[in-house]
Symmetry: C2
Subunit: 241 residues, 2 copies
Amino acid sequence: MAVRVDQGLVMLSDTRTNAGMDNIARFRKTFTYVNPGERAIALLCSGNLSITQGVKSMLGRAIKDSALDPDVETILNCPTMHRVAQIVGEAMCAMQGQYRSTIEMQGSAADASILIAGQRRGGKPRLYLVYSAGNFIEATEDTPFFQIGEHKYGKPILDRIIQRETSLEEAVKAVLVSMDSTLRSNLSVGMPLDLAVIERDAFDFRVRTRIEADDEQFATLSQSWSAALRKGFEDLPDVLG
Amino acid sequence: MAVRVDQGLVMLSDTRTNAGMDNIARFRKTFTYVNPGERAIALLCSGNLSITQGVKSMLGRAIKDSALDPDVETILNCPTMHRVAQIVGEAMCAMQGQYRSTIEMQGSAADASILIAGQRRGGKPRLYLVYSAGNFIEATEDTPFFQIGEHKYGKPILDRIIQRETSLEEAVKAVLVSMDSTLRSNLSVGMPLDLAVIERDAFDFRVRTRIEADDEQFATLSQSWSAALRKGFEDLPDVLG
């Protein structure tokens, strides 16, 4: 999930992938790109892993090529975040064009989606959601967050908490408790988690960290949240009379 | 959703059906059958409405026929709750056999599922989930609740609260706040709600009520829960440091 509030951008992903219940693996789904002081971008991937790895590899190859040939356009040198979304969408299109029909012939799903969160110097913090077809939408003032992948369990708490005025600190807590709910209710989501935070106009990452299964701070937050829910629940007015 | 705790059974459903986003209607999804002092049963329906209405109509016709001919087996005169589940499963099978292929030829989904919660004199409170194929599973001590239909948004709070020792009062509050979360996050779920409660060994309904959109008690519960979540959230330890 990725959140855009006035103070900046907060991104959180898990690391579990599965090809059927008996084929579970751990893969990073958040990838960060930064030119400190100029731009910071995070990509969060969901869906067919071969497709999203292919997209990431195309983006990385362009960055490598641009070191030798500055004319090569990359997500780090292109003029706007909107252009970043187009470049990611074009890579998605290329991968889908190359593999979708054969993937589907094998009975697998080629669908994938990618969240792009970032800010470049001279622009505002932006948040995009790129679909399998390479088309994309941008989060607006009315839509402060996007979720991809297994999103339903964790949505109610985001719906309740996240607004554009929400502080970065609160947004980080909200994505963590949202993920905590999803972790408890769905086996296809699993620790560790990758958290990234971009503060507005910093053009760099304030946080880029992996939260391991034994992370004490996350355990404390999770327990505090459970206790608060339990307490809040006990304090509810009786209804049965 | 339906919950089975040591003290009895709690059932809650919404009333929204939709055939596409632009074709929304209101239909009751909870149906109760009672022979006071002998047995009380609630059915909760989800999925293709023509299928579940057909099942309900078969069950009702048998009850009507049994008034003239006591040999006709019904969910109110059959020997066990397990046999009730079989009868509902047989009706489901009959409806699917009659309509499934033509429904699917039209491009619609014939899937349906039905929760059965009840207790007959001489037996324990039972909770079953009947699938489209007419097969069914029973809630065990390890599985205190079933959800059908749009279930993910409301599952985390049930996962946290409901255990077999949970009181009926707490179970009622839990299903209501669970539904409240789903109502906030998904347009395909809508008020009013139908709530039913069967206390263990009462062989009757303690509660059979419709909660309308302007119900004050539900509004108070919903607001209290929002306030408790907000308060609990604000009290969480800081993580950004």
